[in-house]
Amino acid sequence: MRPLEYRRAEDPRRAVTAVAGRPGAMFLGAGTNLVDHLKLGVARPDLLVDVSHLPYDKIEPRPGGGLRIGAAVRNSDLAAHPLVRQHYPVLAQALLSGASPQLRNLATTAGNLLQRTRCPYFQDVTTPCNKREPGTGCSALEGYNREHAVLGASEHCVAVHPSDMAVALTVLDAEVRVLGSGGERTIPITELYRLPGDRPDRDTVLKHGDLITAVDLPGLPMAAHSAYRKVRERASYAFALVSVAAAVQVRDGAITDARVAFGGLAHKPWRAYRAEEALRGVRVSAAPGDTLAEATTAAPIAAGGAASTGENAGGTSTVEDLRAAADAELADARPLAHNAFKIPMARNTFVAVLRGLLREEGATR
């Protein structure tokens, strides 16, 4: 670790000035990601400005509906907040599926948004990595890339964004409030993250010295009907291989609106607009013996593919429509040497999340 200066921010504007004016300066949240990077040599700041104590620790209803979440709100507090649980279950579920209770007790909202990729080469300073050191090359392209991107990657970087929370915020049309040298501004979360292109060193559109002060959630009635599911190899305390956040609205037996985002597939939380489009109008059949109601009865495993759970004999079913919607989104997916499984896994997760939401919808009607 290099010697560095540590300052606790007293005031947001001075914090911004301090960081904006010094190329080697960084904001520090709870440090659960950044301190690891200091130790590994991935981040080499000469000044840390600790913003975790600024008065951004509140969750407040907004006048026109929605919530304002302070940048320093801890992940545990956000997940446990009654309004979040009631109106935005996808967000609470995403948070609770991340990290461990101890980490969530510390981690801040802004820090979670800006945590960096778990790509093993990014974390190993002895290997080339365009994200860590632009122009050195991407070790994952030809290396171990089981956890990497299948959507929106470039030849310069195939990393994925690790945050669960950000995937949930993406379906909620959240907006990120930023204080920069030029004053305050708001960035839709769908525009916060970048695809790698030829500048994979930049995860987001933020400029050096931009301080995240809050995340705004719009009033979104359909978000009360939302869910997050995450696939990983251990029952807790591991990053996602694939995850799906979704919210649906059903009227008169058909899907009238849907929002879906994938985690674990791309350099940013992947809002699945094409799938959403395909979902609109899908009829939700709820007859007895229907695929949604009876999905637990296991069908034999189709050779070489996923279980054909839930398919009714002949004819189209809602599950088939769901699968088709997922496929519409995943048509452009490009697997690397070790991650082809992510495509069917994403599709199956997508189907599982939507099926679950539609079944609940059926039960509440």
Partner: protein, 764 residues
């Protein structure tokens, strides 16, 4: 059993005596080796190679030496004695000389007054590397003589052990059913929580005292002293608090390094590895590729096994030879097989060095032969338990090595017991923690299918193949404050298994005293051998018992002198000498009369022999231990996630010495097997480790490990002290294949590689 019940249970042999370190550990007060401290100490750090294979063209330490606060910077040139060490072959340099053979190999050392200063100085050492293509193909290393060599002219094959029994040509003609499989076992880590650490203190006699967390003090001492150029007696070791071992502390890590720095600086030197460094600081479980062919009759009786096992030993030999010996001699499992052709290889590559880990060569083979047994069952239309029972060894059976099992081996009954366990109820969908995916919230019951699998393993206990395996105990009986008290002193390493507790239980029972102290383990007493191979209850337990018996004889002699009559058949109970008729004739305090009686005994198990290098025949093992697992799993067949609903185990331990500690061993061993089945793997690409952290190397959490049901049998081994059978390793063998069999049962997938990944189940 609850702790309360254990507390009521007393402290003699057979009771659930509580461990002295238990409360300290859960309250965070236990002093681990990483907590060692000396007021004037300096800190040592290690510079490691980033490359798995490279020629060193030069090392320049001048800049590092110039850093204020730095006391010493050492390279191989500063190693005063032998430059190489190793458990079985002295092939590993103390510090790399002209080349590096694995990523993380130590190249230079720094001592400084602060760990951060030491690290910064380390970053200023300039090492020139000519990077070479790493040799990472274990199969070519084993079988292709043209493959380049890892160690100069030395063969890449550390050991090849064939087993040849019967007439294979004939066997192939008579077999009615043939099943084949190729299996792969990923590299598992021992994943102990206490990183490698210790404190070396220079002594006035020019020697050094080393306080360290290790598994075998004397084998460390024997390797350290020659490298320091010191006589063995001037390198004294004391065991420091060990935070888990599982085989990973059998090889040296920081021991010689800390001693070198201490002798050079004249100051105590502490070295503590960080978590990432720890992944490079110890050996791992050998990854393996196994090719098996089983021939059987239509009614499921094995006719032959034809197998090839390749174990990747990585850059240095460590205990690869012995691991190969186990994989070969136990390679067909606990089954009677009349015809065997098996070849086990352990090889050098530029992958991370591999050596001892719980199960030691028997684990890899067990996954393959048990997968095969399920295939035989399927091919013959038999129940998997039935096919195992039909082929199971029993007392009197001959193993593939020709060794006859001359102790109880009630395998068929154990399998029946496992099958008879009641089935766990279907999982409710109310709590996602009970479902595949756990708190990831992946399924609420849809797409979930249940599967059941069985497996059995055979493990050798104690060191094998003619090794002079022994342990030493010194026991002293005297009165302290008017009460008789025993002091037990051995060099045996308590690595968490509960040996300190057991030693006290034995002394209490044999000497009839309540007050027993177990002295810290050090090299001031003879070797106890390693805390591995599930051997310490047998070996050090045997030594403590022998020393207690000798003390008891002396005490009875003293009583006879005092009473003026002989006391045939007398014993010691409750602080008294008790005559054969059951009457107390004197108190120990009276008999001892202020004197101390002290005896030291060496205990040896019966002799074993080497395996014939061409046929693999020989009575190579001391004792055999068996465990049977039944695993019940729920699998989300859409997303490929597994929830192990229950693990049930049947194990024969010969004699239960401490029920609570035994349960702990069975649970822990089973959990480690679960990890190998479903998640644990060091990802190595081109010789480079890709996940050296507990964020990225996944070990099971409490949500992944299910409740266990156990049934413990006590069929005494007549050759062993108290009839006991080593218990720590067998559960690690059978838990893995049982879980994988259960996942196969739920999914119909072949699953030939462990750990099983979601993509092997559903999204492949």
């Amino acid at each position: 059993m609850t702790v309360e019940a254990a507390r009521r249970g007393g402290e003699a042999l057979g009771d659930s005596a509580l461990r002295p370190d238990g409360v300290l550990k859960v309250t965070g007060e236990f002093a681990y080796s990483s907590d060692l401290w000396a007021d004037d100490m300096v800190w040592g750090v290690t510079l490691r190679s980033p490359h798995p294979r490279a020629r060193i063209t030069g090392i320049d330490v001048s800049e590092a030496l110039a850093v204020p606060g730095v006391h010493a910077v050492l390279t191989h040139e500063d190693v005063p004695g032998e430059k190489f060490y190793g458990l079985e072959h002295h092939d590993q340099p103390v510090l790399a000389i002209d080349q590096v053979r694995y990523q993380g190999e130590p190249v230079a050392l720094v001592a400084a007054d602060h760990p951060e200063t030491a690290r910064r100085a380390r970053d200023r050492i300039r090492v020139g590397y000519e990077v070479l293509e790493p040799l990472t193909d274990a199969r070519r290393a084993a079988l292709d003589p043209s493959y380049p060599k890892v160690h100069g002219d030395r063969s890449n094959v550390v050991r090849h052990q064939p087993i040849r029994v019967g007439d294979m040509a004939h066997a192939r003609r008579v077999a009615e059913v043939v099943v084949r499989g190729e299996y792969e076992v990923g590299m598992q880590d021992q994943a102990f929580l206490g990183p490698e650490s210790g404190l070396a203190v220079p002594a006035e006699d020019g020697g050094v005292d080393l306080f360290v967390a290790t598994q075998w003090l004397h084998v460390d001492q024997e390797q350290i002293a020659p490298c320091l150029g010191l006589p063995t007696g001037r390198v004294r070791l004391t065991l420091a608090g060990v935070g888990g071992a599982f085989g990973a502390r059998e090889d040296l890590s920081m021991q010689i390094h800390a001693c070198l720095l201490a002798l050079r600086t004249g100051r105590p030197v502490k070295i503590v590895y960080g978590r990432e460094e720890s992944f490079f600081g110890h050996v791992h479980r050998h990854p393996a590729r196994l090719r098996y062919e089983h021939g059987a009759t239509r009614d499921g009786r094995l006719v032959y096994v034809d197998a090839e096992i390749v174990l990747d030993g990585g850059a240095y030999a460590s205990s690869t030879s012995a691991v190969v010996g186990n994989a070969a001699s136990l390679g067909v499992g606990p089954y009677e097989v009349p015809n065997v052709r098996l070849d086990a290889y352990g090889v050098y590559t530029n992958n991370p060095p591999c050596g001892a880990m719980r199960g030691f060569g028997a684990v890899q083979a067990c996954f393959a032969y048990e997968s095969q047994m399920d295939k035989v069952a399927e091919a013959c239309g038999l129940d998997p338990v039935e096919v195992r029972i039909r082929n199971a060894v029993a007392e009197g059976s001959r193993l593939a090595t020709g060794q006859v099992i001359d102790m109880p081996a009630p395998l068929a009954a154990m399998l029946e017991d496992a099958r008879a366990f009641p089935a766990p109820p279907p999982t409710g969908t109310a709590d996602v923690r009970d479902l595949p995916g756990g708190v990831s919230n992946t399924t609420h019951g849809e797409g979930v299918r249940r599967g059941v699998g069985y497996a059995v393993g055979i493990k050798n206990i104690c060191y094998s193949e003619g090794f002079d395996d022994h342990s030493t105990a010194r026991v002293r009986l005297e009165t302290v404050g008017g009460e008789p008290a025993a002091l037990v002193h051995t060099a045996a390493a308590e690595v968490g298994q509960g040996l300190v507790t057991l030693q006290a239980q034995i002394a209490r029972t044999e000497l009839g005293v309540r007050q027993v102290t177990v002295a810290p383990a050090d090299t001031g007493v003879g070797s106890a051998g390693s805390s591995s191979a599930s051997r310490q209850s047998y070996m050090t337990g045997g030594a403590v018992r022998a020393a207690c018996e000798a003390v008891r004889e002396r005490v009875i002699e003293l009583a006879e002198e005092r009473l003026g009559r002989s006391l045939p058949g007398a014993s010691l109970h409750d602080g008294r000498v008790v005559a054969a008729d059951g009457l107390a004739v004197a108190s120990l305090a009276e008999v001892l009369a202020g004197r101390a009686v002290e005896e030291t005994r060496e205990f040896r198990h019966r002799r074993t022999t080497a395996l014939d290098p061409l046929t693999g025949q020989g009575d190579s093992h001391v004792q055999f231990a068996f465990c049977v697992h039944r695993a019940v799993v729920d699998v989300d067949v859409e997303l490929g996630l597994v929830k192990v609903v229950e693990l049930a185990a049947v194990q024969d331990v010969g004699r239960i010495l401490n029920p609570l500690a035994l349960e702990g061993q069975i649970h822990g061993g089973s959990a480690q097997g679960l990890g190998l089945a479903l998640m644990e793997e060091i990802q190595v690409r081109d010789g480079v480790v890709r996940n050296p952290s507990f964020t990225d190397y996944l070990i099971p959490t409490i949500l992944d490990m299910p409740p266990m049901r156990t049934r413990i049998l006590e069929n005494a081994d007549p050759h062993a002290p108290y009839g006991l059978r080593g218990a720590g390793e067998p559960p690690t063998l059978s838990s893995t294949p049982a879980i994988v069999a259960a996942v196969r049962d739920a999914t119909g997938r072949p699953l030939t590689r462990i750990p099983v990944r979601p993509e092997h189940i559903s999204c492949g």
